[in-house]
């Protein structure tokens, strides 16, 4: 390509095409070698020489700058180079100043050339700068490697006692079925603990529970059942009564499966037309929530002085699913609670008329459920409070 061709373009004053295509190879080429000679009818020869000279200088500056740019490795050097070439006292800017010696026809075209180069260099800078940043980032990332297997900062985390967890879970299940939570005193009168529950003095069933006495009439409650009476007394004649009563109870017994202090959750529902099948329905719901969706329950006849008929409730074994294992002693069933229809005498003691209402009640041992749920073998561990034990929960 001949420069003169370009000057012809200039003559046609189509400046924008200067930057287009590869034909302006003097500027877009990689060296000044393609600057040819020839004659231009409009430009005197000496001017053409100067133009060519200036242009090759601009090209040189460009080539130099691009080379330096590619050799740079620090972002700061990038800025220094920019100042050196494009700054007020930069080499390219100096070229602009030399343009005063050009003819008025040449000046705009040279100015254009300089600007083209400037813009090209700026682009190159941008690119190089991004590249350097990327390199720098890569280097940073490479050096900032940590051992991700080291433990993190410790945020203190305490543990709920397993019995608290089980009690709250039971509470939540029954709250979801519309039960309220009732409470009663742990130190209880003989009346509420026994007599009002159809266990008169000297009733042989009192022997099922070895009580801690404070006086002849006051004892540590042996069951949460007295809350049944207290709740009915408080609520009657309101219907329905629908409560659970969790709490501590006490019996004079201490071995791997008995603790002198333990926890029960009592349940009581009194309303018109309550059936034993309702008891079964509520307890089936509970068992599935507590022990898993696929659990089944079965009722077995039993005896409690304050319920009639009475039933022991077994749940299908949560370990083997009912096929028989060590946990269920091969039976497929695990006894989890006692229950029954509230004895008419107990309803009467609570202020309700057994001709009008019926009810069901149930009671479960929280420790037993916790032991089943967590696979705890010895009940005493629950009250030994060894942190190595408690911190598992």
């Amino acid at each position: 390509m001949w420069l003169i061709t370009k000057l012809g373009w200039y003559r046609e004053n189509r400046l924008s095409s200067l930057s287009r295509g590869g034909s302006f190879c003097v500027l877009s080429g990689t060296s000044g070698a393609s600057v040819g000679q020839g004659t231009c009818p409009l430009v005197p020869e000496k001017d053409l020489e100067r133009v060519i000279c200036l242009k090759s200088e601009i090209l040189r500056i460009r080539e130099e700058a691009l080379r330096e740019l590619s050799e740079l490795d620090r972002p700061e050097a990038l800025q220094e180079l920019k100042v050196k070439v494009l700054g007020k006292k930069g080499s390219l800017t100096a070229m602009l100043r030399q343009m005063g010696s050009l003819s008025p026809e040449e000046r705009p075209i040279m100015g254009q050339v300089v600007n083209e180069v400037r813009s090209q260099l700026e682009q190159a800078w941008e690119k190089r700068s991004a590249e350097l940043e990327r390199i720098a980032l890569e280097q940073r990332l490479a050096t900032e490697r940590i051992d991700i297997t080291l433990p993190g900062i410790r945020v203190p985390r305490g543990h709920y006692h397993p019995l608290t967890q089980v009690i709250e879970e039971i509470e939540d299940i029954f709250l979801g079925m519309g039960f309220q939570i009732a409470e009663g005193p742990e130190i209880e009168s003989d009346y509420y603990n026994f007599e009002a529950l159809n266990l008169p003095k000297e009733h042989p069933a009192r022997e099922m529970q070895d009580s801690f006495y404070i006086t002849e009439e006051i004892l540590l409650r042996t069951q949460t059942s007295p809350v049944q009476i207290r709740t009915m007394e408080k609520l009657h004649p309101q219907l329905p009564v629908k409560i659970i009563a969790p709490g501590k109870v006490y019996r004079n017994d201490d071995d791997a499966t008995h603790s002198p202090m333990f926890h029960q959750v009592e349940g009581l529902v009194v309303d018109r037309g309550i059936r034993m099948s309702d008891l079964k329905g509520i307890l089936l719901n509970f068992s599935r929530e507590m022990f898993g969706e696929s659990r089944e329950i079965r009722l077995r006849p039993s005896f409690f002085p304050f319920t009639e008929p009475s039933a022991e409730v077994d749940v299908s074994c949560m370990l083997c699913g009912g096929s028989g294992c060590r946990l269920c002693k091969g039976t497929g069933w695990i006894e989890i609670l006692g229950s029954g229809m509230v004895h008419p005498k107990v309803l009467e003691m609570g202020g309700y008329n057994p001709q009008e209402v019926t009810g069901f009640a149930f009671g479960m041992g929280v420790e037993r459920i916790a032991m089943l749920k967590f696979g705890i073998e010895d009940m005493r561990l629950l009250f030994d409070n060894d942190l190595r034990f408690l911190q598992q929960f």
Partner: protein
């Protein structure tokens, strides 16, 4: 109650295996706790005869025996020295597992093959009633009549299973074989075949004894007393079948007379006692003991009797403790010629008290305590008569029967409709009728209403609901469907106080404390130390002496837990408990005590080492920080005041805690001398009463908008005397700073070089902010220096350079 299947099978047809029957009974409401196979361990033990005995070729102490075990002859090597040719002995064959769990395998002893083992009594867990005397120091040697090749268990009469019934207190009737048979018959729809005496109303056709008078002195304690007079008594061991059944039931055979009384007790449920008739002088009295009265009981112990112990006595002296144990003076001996056999009713309460007091529990006292059927007394003596004659043990000649009181016979109405409603099962009249017939109860029916005659042996059936249970258990509880209550819907919700306790637990665990649960009864001394001896409630019968009182404070329980953990090298202890304390206002208690809910915590040691952070030391400020978090959570303002008279806590490191001027608890390091006692170094504790806190918690949050104008921060470091409380300085700053001083925080406390001794440096960060405008540096500087001056004057503080 131990039920021999062999015996039971005589009273009712059984077509189930022992295990199946156990399941049937359990599902029917008679829980079978255990099924014992009496032949267990004897399955591969047979009777053999020694054919030859030779010395082992390579061992001086061993013998090689050839034994005939019926089908074959086998070789067995033994070390026993008590054997003779021709001896009959039990042989454990290869594959046997003996009662003592020893497994028998084929083995070689010094080159000679041994195909089994000759057994000793010990290996078979037998006592010396089996075998010849020569058995004592080696192999059990049987009489020469023992049939060769027979299974040894069969030879001993052990081919039986025993069901162990766990009876509820409402079913004392099942302490009698005849009633267990009735129960099995009802549950399996079979007809029982019981002795005629199983009908309680049977009468004895014997003359009334003219020379024996019964005097019942208290009609409440004894409703009925019958005595059977027996002559020509001949004492000898009872027959093998009777002994076997007694043993299966867990009763030791003694002689024919005692064994008959025990046998009838097991069969009919009526305890009996045999007196030597010739030792009774005058009338038989049933009366309470006189003050200080003494009796030597059958076990040879001389007992001083409590005044409410019920006695059987003659005109001179006590002859026995009614229902509990006979007296030595009227015991049946080998010389006894005439008997009086007693069948009586005694009040359960009385028997229970006496047997408890003396620690004498027996099959008889157990039945009296649970309640016997007073109607069946004469019939049980009728059964005794039969057995006396069968065994040729004596000749019944006459009897007396003094009746003071009998419970009323009961009829119960059972409605088909009501039963269907209560059980939630649709039941027809015929189904209920079938159940009542299976129970073998008399009844009349009209319109679905059953009028049921309750037999006298079923004392537990009193009301309609009792019969409903009979219906349910006979048709099977599995027939009950699952439904849900049909009434009004209710909303389940915790009360605010229940929710407070739940959130409190959460606050503590989120602060890193572990929840513990301790016994609410504790040592009296520790409770008195930390709580109130005046209010603590002692238990009459504590589990152990050191668990003697109900706690008035949670601290000792927590210190115990902390000490136990430290002793086990758990060095990072930060624990809390939320639980009741119990406050009696008088002694002994007249009314129920106050139950006061508290929260308490103990921390000792420090958090575990960590590669990145310094461990947290569990000190005063650690627990205080947790309580401050709690205060924030509940919108409470806790005030800490220097503890007034706390001898239990470090005087320089303890605080009383107040809420709105009400004392609610304390916080502090335990006193070094106490720490030593508990084995805890620098433990910190707190205890809070929860009721006053709950009463003051923030109910709702009112949000403030975020200030629009920037805040200006100034730091101020001051040197003050060490006694000066940081809180006092901050309070003064706030007072001086007015509304514009939005916040004062302390960010550094320093003592030591270059601060002179007796002084400390406190560094505060003060934040100034106006809600209305942007503050200028000048006005903040002015305010800041006014505060500084004020503090300098008030506390003699110096600005730290």
């Amino acid at each position: 109650m131990k039920v021999s299947l062999e015996w039971l099978n005589q009273l009712v047809d059984i077509d189930q295996s022992a295990e199946e029957l156990a399941e049937t009974l359990t599902r029917g409401g008679i829980e079978v706790e255990d099924v014992e196979n009496l032949n267990k361990g004897f399955e591969k033990v047979v009777i053999g005869e020694i054919i030859s005995l030779t010395k082992h070729p390579d061992a001086d102490r061993l013998l090689v025996c050839v034994v005939n075990v019926g089908q074959e002859e086998i070789t067995i090597v033994t070390g026993a020295q008590n054997l003779l040719n021709g001896d009959r002995i039990p042989v454990a064959l290869v594959g046997a597992t003996l009662p003592n769990d020893l497994s028998i395998r084929k083995s070689k002893l010094r080159g000679v093959v041994s195909q089994g083992m000759l057994c000793s009594r010990e290996e078979l867990l037998l006592d010396d009633t089996v075998g010849l005397d020569r058995s004592a120091d080696g192999i059990l040697i049987l009489p020469s009549t023992a049939p060769i090749g027979e299974n040894f268990g069969h030879y001993l009469g052990r081919e039986d299973s025993v069901l162990d019934l766990e009876l509820y207190p409402n079913r004392p009737d099942c302490l009698a074989m005849v009633n267990v048979a009735r129960e099995v018959a009802s549950l399996t729809r079979k007809k029982p075949h019981l002795p005629k005496w199983a009908e309680p109303d049977q009468v004895l056709s014997l003359p009334i004894a003219s020379d024996l008078r019964i005097v019942i002195e208290d009609n409440d304690l004894c409703w009925r007393y019958a005595g059977l007079v027996v002559e020509d008594v001949h004492i000898e061991p009872s027959p093998e079948w009777m002994q076997r059944r007694l043993k299966a039931a867990g009763v030791r055979p003694i002689n024919n007379i005692v064994d008959i009384t025990n046998y009838v007790m097991l069969e009919m449920g009526q305890p009996l006692h045999a007196f030597d008739r010739d030792k009774i002088e005058g009338d038989v009295h049933v009366r309470p003991a006189y003050p200080g009265e003494q009796l030597v009981t059958l076990d040879g112990v001389e007992r001083t009797l409590h005044k409410d112990a019920l006695l059987i006595a003659d005109d001179r002296q006590a002859l026995g403790l009614a229902g509990v144990m006979g007296g030595l003076n009227s015991e049946v001996t080998k010389d006894t010629r005439r008997l009086m056999i007693e069948a009586a009713h005694f009040a359960p309460v009385s028997i229970r008290r006496t047997s408890r007091r003396l620690g004498l529990r027996s099959e008889a006292s157990n039945r009296f305590e649970k309640g016997i059927n007073a109607y069946g007394i004469a019939a049980s003596l009728g059964r005794v008569c039969d057995l006396l004659q069968d065994l040729k043990a004596g000749r019944p000649v006459s009897f007396v029967d003094e009746i003071k009181n009998l419970p009323t016979r009961r009829q119960v109405i059972l409605s088909t409709e009501h039963t269907s409603t209560v059980l939630g099962i649709e039941l027809g009249v015929s189904e209920i009728q079938q159940v009542i017939e299976d129970l073998n109860f008399e009844y009349k029916e009209s319109d679905g209403l059953f009028q049921v005659e309750i037999p006298t042996y079923r004392s537990d059936l009193e009301i309609e609901e009792d019969l409903m249970e009979e219906v349910a258990r006979l048709i099977g509880y599995d027939r009950i469907p699952t439904t849900l209550p049909q009434g009004d819907q209710t909303q389940g919700r915790r009360t605010p106080e229940q929710e407070f306790r739940r959130r409190l637990r959460k606050t503590f665990t989120q602060s890193g404390m572990d929840e513990v649960m301790t016994y609410t009864f504790t040592r009296a001394e520790s409770d008195a130390q930390w709580g109130s001896a005046k209010h603590s409630i002692p238990l009459l019968n504590p589990l152990r002496e050191e668990l003697g009182v109900m706690r008035t404070t949670l601290i000792p329980g927590l210190l115990d837990v902390a000490a136990r953990n430290v002793a086990r090298r758990n060095m990072d202890v930060s624990i809390f408990e939320i639980g009741n304390t119990y406050w009696g206002d008088e002694h002994p208690l007249q009314k129920l005590p106050r139950e006061e809910l508290r929260a308490a915590g103990v921390a000792v040691g420090k958090s575990e080492r960590h590669w990145l952070e310094q461990p947290v030391s569990y000190d005063f400020y650690y627990l205080k920080g947790i309580l401050e978090g709690l205060a924030l959570e509940f919108g409470l303002k806790l005030e800490y005041r220097v503890a007034e008279s706390q001898s239990l806590l470090h005087p320089g490191r303890s605080a009383d805690i107040y809420v709105q001027n009400q004392y609610v608890g304390f916080l502090g390091e335990i006193h070094p001398s106490l720490g030593k006692e508990w084995g805890l170094d620098r433990a910190v504790v707190f205890e809070l009463e929860l009721a006053p806190l709950f009463a003051r918690i923030r109910q709702t949050v009112r949000a403030h908008s975020i200030p629009r104008f920037p805040a200006i921060q100034r730091d101020m470091a001051l040197v003050v005397a060490v006694e000066t409380s940081a809180e006092a300085v901050m309070a003064k700053m706030k007072k001086l700073g007015g509304d514009l001083l939005q916040q004062v925080e302390i960010f550094d406390v320093y003592t030591g070089n270059p601060i002179p001794a007796g002084y400390k440096s406190l560094a505060f960060s003060l934040r100034y902010q106006s809600l209305e405008r942007t503050l200028t540096d000048e006005e903040v500087n002015l305010l800041n220096s006014r505060i500084l001056e004020g503090i300098q004057q008030e506390f003699g503080a110096e600005r730290r350079k």
